[in-house]
Amino acid sequence: MHRLRAYVIPYRVWMTTLIILPSLMILFLAITDFDLYLKGPFVFTLEGLRVFTESTIQIALMNSIKYSLLTTIIALLIGYPAAYYLANLKSAYKTFFVALIIIPVWSNMLLRIIAWEKLFFPISILNNFGISLDWIGSDKAIVVGMLSMYFPFMILPIYSVLVKLDQHLIEAARDLGANGFDTFVKVILPLSLPGIVSGVIMTLLPAMTTFALPERLGGGKVLLIGNIIEDAFMKTGNLQMGSIISVVLMIIILILFKGIMTVDKEGETLL
C-alpha cells in the first residue's frame, strides 16, 4: 500500500496546480478588489455581482442556458434510444458502430466548427446538391453545431451502462409480470440513470461554457456567457468580472447536478 502512494503524487501535483489552484485564484479574484495588473487593495467585496444587472450579461446567460438545455434535451432524446439500440445489437459490428460515434471526437473541435460554419453560409459546397443554407446567427446553427460537438458524450456513457446491464434483471422483471414498457420504466431506465446523469453533465457543461462555437456560428449575433468570460479575461482585462461570472456559472451547474442526482430512484417521476 505504502509503495503505491508514490504513484499518486504526480496526480496530486496535477490536480493541485492545474485545477485546485486556478479555481481558488478565480474565487479569490471574484470576491476581492485585488487586480493582477493594477495591484489594487485586498478588500473583500461582492461588488462584482453588479455585472448581473447589465442586460448584455443577462441575455448572454439566458442564451447559454437556453441553448445548452435545448442541446442536452435533444441529445438525450435521440441519444438514449440510439444507445439502447446499439447496446442490444446482436451484431459482430457493434464495436465498430460505437467507434464511428467516437471517431469525430478525436478530430480538432475548432476544425469541425469551421466545417459547419462553411456549410451554414448561403454559398457552400451544399449548393452542388441544390441546397443553400443561410443559418449563421440562427438558433438552428448553434443547436446543430452543439449537437454535433457533444452528442457522443451523451451517447457513450448511456451505452456503456446499458451494455453492462444484467440481463437477468430484465428477465426477473418479466417473470414478475412486467410487460416491455413496465420493464423499461421500472428497471432499465432507473438502472441507466447513472449513464444519463454523466451524459447530461458531459453535454451540458461544455455547451454552457463554449465560446468558440457561438463566435463562428453566431455570426456576431449570438452572445453566450462563454464569450463574455473570454472577453473579460482576454480583451478588456476585467478579471473580477470574468471571475465572478465563472463562479456564478459553476454554482448554477452544481445546483443543476444536485437536482439531477436526487431524481427519484425508482424512476417513477421521470415519465
Binding site: 434483471l169 422483471a173 421500472k186 438502472l191
Partner: protein, 346 residues
C-alpha cells in the same frame, strides 16, 4: 389431481450443442418435483424454457393443458427464484418483494401486509428498508424466494434457491419451503445438486445427466432402486461393483456367489452391483464371505466411515462401531441390500 405442466419431447440446443435431449415429464398440481443432476446437465435451461426465457427447438410445453409456445414470461402464471438471485439493485428489500404486487396494482395496505408476511416467513423482519447490495448471499436468496412467492403463482420454479445458506438455515428453509408449498397449494419445481436436499423435500425426484432424464421416481425409489450406475453414484455414496448375473436371483461378484432379489436379466449378463455403505455390516473374517483389510477410518459425527480394501477395490462402509486400521474383516449384507443394474454402456 390433474397435470399442471406437461413437457412433451422437448429438445434444446445452443450452437449445435444439445443441452436437452428429447425430454418428457409431467407434473401434477401441488407436486414438489426436484431436478437433480451435476453442473451443466441442463437443469437451468429446462427451468428457463418453462419460464419462457428460452425458445425450444422441438417439442411442446403445456401449462394447464395450454401450449405456452407464444405466451411471454409476464403472462405465464409462473414465478422464478433465479439461480443468481437477480434482485433489483436500485430497490430496497421491501420494493423488491413488492415488485410483482405493485404491477398488479393491488391496494397499498394489501401489498404492505403481504410483504411483511413474507419477510416474517423468510426471517428478514426489520430488513425491509435495507439496500439489497448490503445483504449477505443467504439473505439475498431469501429475498429472492420472498419476491417470487408473494405473488402466489400456480407454479414456482426454484433454481438452487438454498445454495448460499449455511447448514442450519438451509434445513430451516427446507422445512419452511415444504410447509409453504403444502399450505399454499403451489406446485414447486426445485433445482439442486444436493441429493440429500432432493431426497428430503421432494414428492418426486428427476435425476438428469447430460441433457437426458436418467430416472424419475419417489425419493425412496431413487435411493433404493437406482436404475443405472449414474443414478446410483449420484444419489449418495455407493459401492458399485462389477458382477455377473449367473441366473435369476443369483449374482457373482468378488469371486463369491450371492443370493439376491433381482431377476429378468440374461443368464451370465454382466451387471453393476450397488450396495449402500450403511447396508454393510463388518464381522470377523469368514471364508464364506468377502474378506478385506481396514485401510482408513473417519469419524463423521453420527457414524464412522470405514474403508475396507478387497482385492484392490475399496469399499466404503458406514458403522456406528469403530475399527482399527489393519483389522481383518468380512462384509455381511443380505439379499435385499444388493441392487443389480444393467451396465449403462452396454
Amino acid at each position: 389431481m390433474s397435470d399442471i405442466l406437461k413437457i412433451d419431447h422437448v429438445t434444446k440446443s445452443f450452437d449445435d450443442k444439445v443441452v436437452l435431449n428429447n425430454i418428457s415429464l409431467t407434473i401434477k398440481h401441488n407436486e414438489f418435483v426436484t431436478l437433480l443432476g451435476p453442473s451443466g446437465c441442463g437443469k437451468t435451461t429446462l427451468l428457463r424454457l418453462i419460464g419462457g426465457f428460452e425458445t425450444l427447438d422441438q417439442g411442446h410445453i403445456y401449462f394447464e393443458d395450454e401450449d405456452v409456445l407464444n405466451i411471454p414470461p409476464n403472462k405465464r402464471k409462473v414465478n422464478t427464484v433465479f439461480q443468481h438471485y437477480a434482485l433489483f439493485p436500485h430497490l430496497n428489500v421491501f420494493d423488491n418483494i413488492a415488485f410483482g404486487l405493485k404491477l398488479k396494482k393491488q391496494p397499498k395496505e394489501e401489498i404492505n401486509k403481504a410483504v411483511m408476511n413474507m419477510l416474517m416467513l423468510v426471517k428478514l423482519e426489520g430488513y425491509e428498508w435495507r439496500n439489497v447490495d448490503t445483504l449477505s448471499g443467504g439473505q439475498k436468496q431469501r429475498v429472492a424466494i420472498a419476491r417470487a412467492l408473494v405473488n402466489q403463482p400456480n407454479l414456482l420454479l426454484l433454481d438452487e434457491p438454498l445454495g448460499a445458506l449455511d447448514l442450519k438455515l438451509r434445513q430451516d428453509m427446507q422445512y419452511e419451503l415444504k410447509e409453504m408449498q403444502r399450505r399454499l397449494g403451489i406446485t414447486f419445481i426445485f433445482v439442486t445438486h444436493d441429493q440429500e436436499e432432493a431426497l428430503t423435500m421432494s414428492d418426486r425426484v428427476v435425476v438428469m445427466n447430460e441433457g437426458l432424464i436418467q430416472q424419475v421416481g419417489s425419493p425412496q425409489d431413487i435411493y433404493n432402486e437406482p436404475i443405472n450406475q449414474f443414478s446410483a453414484s449420484f444419489i449418495g455414496e455407493s459401492n458399485i461393483i462389477d458382477g455377473v448375473m449367473v441366473t435369476d436371483y443369483e449374482v457373482v461378484f468378488e469371486g463369491i456367489s450371492h443370493p439376491c432379489v433381482d431377476h429378468g436379466f440374461e443368464n451370465n449378463e454382466k451387471v453393476d452391483v450397488v450396495i449402500r455403505p450403511e447396508d454393510i455390516v463388518l464381522i470377523k473374517p469368514d471364508q464364506q464371505m468377502i474378506q478385506g483389510v481396514v485401510t482408513d477410518i473417519i469419524f463423521k459425527g453420527v457414524h464412522y466411515e470405514i474403508c475396507v480394501m478387497v482385492n484392490d477395490k475399496e469399499y466404503v462402509i458406514h458403522s456406528t462401531r469403530a475399527k482399527h486400521i489393519g483389522d481383518k474383516v468380512s462384509l455381511k449384507f443380505g439379499p435385499n441390500d444388493i441392487h443389480i443394474m444393467r451396465k449403462s454402456d452396454a
